[in-house]
Symmetry: C2
Subunit: 355 residues, 2 copies
DNA sequence: ACCAGAACTTAAAGCGTTTTAAATTGTCCT
DNA sequence: AGGACAATTTAAAACGCTTTAAGTTCTGGT
């Protein structure tokens, strides 16, 4: 062991710092190195570094100092292997989505609070959900938090056999999975309530195409209209989640016999298309017509849009997702759970009294 | 060994699938399990699974089949430890930045082509560069690709001792680091050329505050103006990277004696503020005044803005970053290298002939 | 001095792979 | 049949840590 140490030392000297990075094999200090430095066993050092009770105060201090001097940093791969726990939550995200970005932000803090770390795997044009999830498992993630997955329920169910799956932001038929989401129908309901409260009766909805989310929102619109006795005023225009769709819908309305007094769009992106088309046509918003989006995108907050919209409380969803994971991992919960949060209407500048 | 197998088998049956996830300790099949299944050693299986030459075709097929049957997936932590290589590139990103999202997308494909994987660590309000980088190292990243780091050059230099650092998108004084970036001054120069070509002479620049990037772009503006003999027309308005700053600047211009014929903003965000203020004031763009941004944000592409801007070629930067990493890791390059790419002007709808 | 028990420390056995050197099997000649 | 060599296969030693059971050292009380 002494010999070994000397060898390492010599090698480092010979190395001279020039070939430091060769093959990424820059020697980082190991537990053994700091142990040798203070004349203790690696066991003690490990104990101190993990903050486990046992080692004396004197030992603690010396070890901490030595570790700092050497710039020691634990090797996650080794400790995962040894402890049989990675304490890692795998998160699948669409890196282009601002909403996911927000979720990740809160997932980080929530996970940290319960002693877990996050590993991210992103979807891209050339990287599908399958690949993303495999990466997460290869890192030995203990649970999988999937943000807005599009895989069918049965695929997710199979996945759940390898590690508990928590789906965020999407309703899942009745697979035995944990789901955290907001009530999309209710969110649109709140929008309609708000508009009706402002005296609107001619409220048009621009659809978001197929998909669970679009379905829920559309239903929310219909239900709310009927609730207000406006069942016969229900009017759904085809559309999708793009600005272009919003523009098309708005032009369609402009070409029509009479303009409604309010337009509710599937999401913010789409709403902005609507907004742009109206502005260009000289129709005042919210003077002549009110426009509402959904998602509380960064976009909607821009003062030039200042869009009334619905927020999905990223913070709460993230916390619930982490809690769900921890319950599965550390508290033996086996029953699936669905957490449905109430979205929050954000009234900004694109809604006003009906004319 | 046979006994051991039986034990594992029994345990799985007892488990019955209900307590599967307890402590994240779901037993995944190991190399040994697939070896046992085909009656070979783990060594052979390892060889086959990694595609190393040696095993006979017959063996190969049998192993592959067994692995598939068992749903075997290699455990990265173990193989990293054993092979002393993680083949992992650590990437620090600001998850809220659309530009970083694009870079990550291309980094993924570039890394894959050379047999590396990416591990992402994000900056958030509560997670600074220090923490992000430590996480990357804890995973044993072999190189660090930092997207737009703000840490001072000397901190980055120290970091480079632990693993080769490749900085993307930011100029670094003269640290011995690899840098990949675009020539910001040149980008702004292209904008000015474009405007001058359209007959503009009164071109105002809205500044981006302090910071290396802002400095470069401002310099680019000044240099280009002088180059066109417009040195006496140079006019820089205070600003930063926000929409609000753009609005302020535009209002300032509107209040002034005479409007310039073109405004160049530090970035797209800022340009959109400018745009919004002009539109609201009834000043036609590009009829009366031209506006240009920088970054080619998703924002700028929205048809309602359709902003003329400058693209930073995420794809090229990503490829160069990965190449730089690989050269350091696999080809013993020790000399730092700076790659400066030429940005590309994207002419859209906010620039036109000077009036 | 001696001893029980508390306080602290450590030896050693893994964790699931890779890798090297050695062992085994197979093939083709004489 | 025997031997040389190539083609396969494998035993066993890492990798850097955690963890458990077993020491060892201290206390304070007799």
């Amino acid at each position: 062991m002494l010999l070994k140490e000397i060898c390492r030392g010599e090698a480092q000297v010979d190395d001279g710092g020039t070939a430091r990075h060769r093959n990424g094999a820059h020697k980082r200090p190991r537990l053994e190195d700091v142990a040798a430095r203070v004349g203790l066993s690696t066991a003690s050092v490990s104990l101190v570094l993990r903050g486990v009770a046992g080692p004396s105060e004197r030992t603690r201090q010396r070890v901490l100092k030595a570790a700092a001097d050497l710039g020691y940093q634990v090797d996650r791969t080794a400790s995962t292997l040894a402890s049989r726990r990675s304490r890692l939550l795998g998160v699948m995200v669409d890196i282009h989505s601002p909403f996911h970005a927000e979720l990740v932000e809160h997932l980080h803090t929530a996970a940290e609070e319960v002693g877990y770390d996050l590993v991210l795997s992103t979807l891209t044009r050339t990287r599908d959900e399958q690949t993303a999830v495999e990466t997460l498992l290869a890192f030995r993630s203990e649970a999988l938090i999937l943000l807005g997955p599009t895989s069918p329920a049965d695929v997710l169910a199979v996945l759940d056999n390898k590690a508990p799956v928590i789906t965020v932001g999407r309703r899942i038929a009745d697979a035995a999975l944990d789901v955290v989401r907001t009530a999309d129908d209710e969110g649109v309901g709140q929008i309609v309530d708000h508009l009706v409260g402002l005296g609107h009766r001619e409220i048009v909805y621009v659809d978001g195409g197929k998909g669970v989310i679009a379905t829920d929102r559309r239903r929310g619109y219909r239900t709310a209209m009927r609730r207000h006795g406006l069942g016969d005023r229900i009017r759904v225009l085809a559309g999708d989640n793009t600005e272009a769709a919003g523009e098309r819908a708005a032009r369609h309305l402009l070409d029509g016999p009479e303009l409604p007094t309010a337009v509710v769009a599937f999401n913010d992106q789409c709403a902005i298309g609507v907004l742009a088309a109206f502005t260009r046509a000289g129709v005042s918003v919210p003077g002549r017509i009110s426009v509402v989006g959904y998602d509380d995108d960064t976009l909607s907050r821009l003062s030039c849009f200042n869009l009334t919209t619905v927020s999905q409380s990223a913070r709460e969803q993230a916390r619930h997702a982490v809690t769900a994971a921890v319950e599965r991992l550390d508290q033996d919960r086996t029953e699936p759970r669905e957490v449905v949060l109430t979205p929050r209407l954000i009234v900004r500048g694109t809604t006003g009294q009906a004319v």
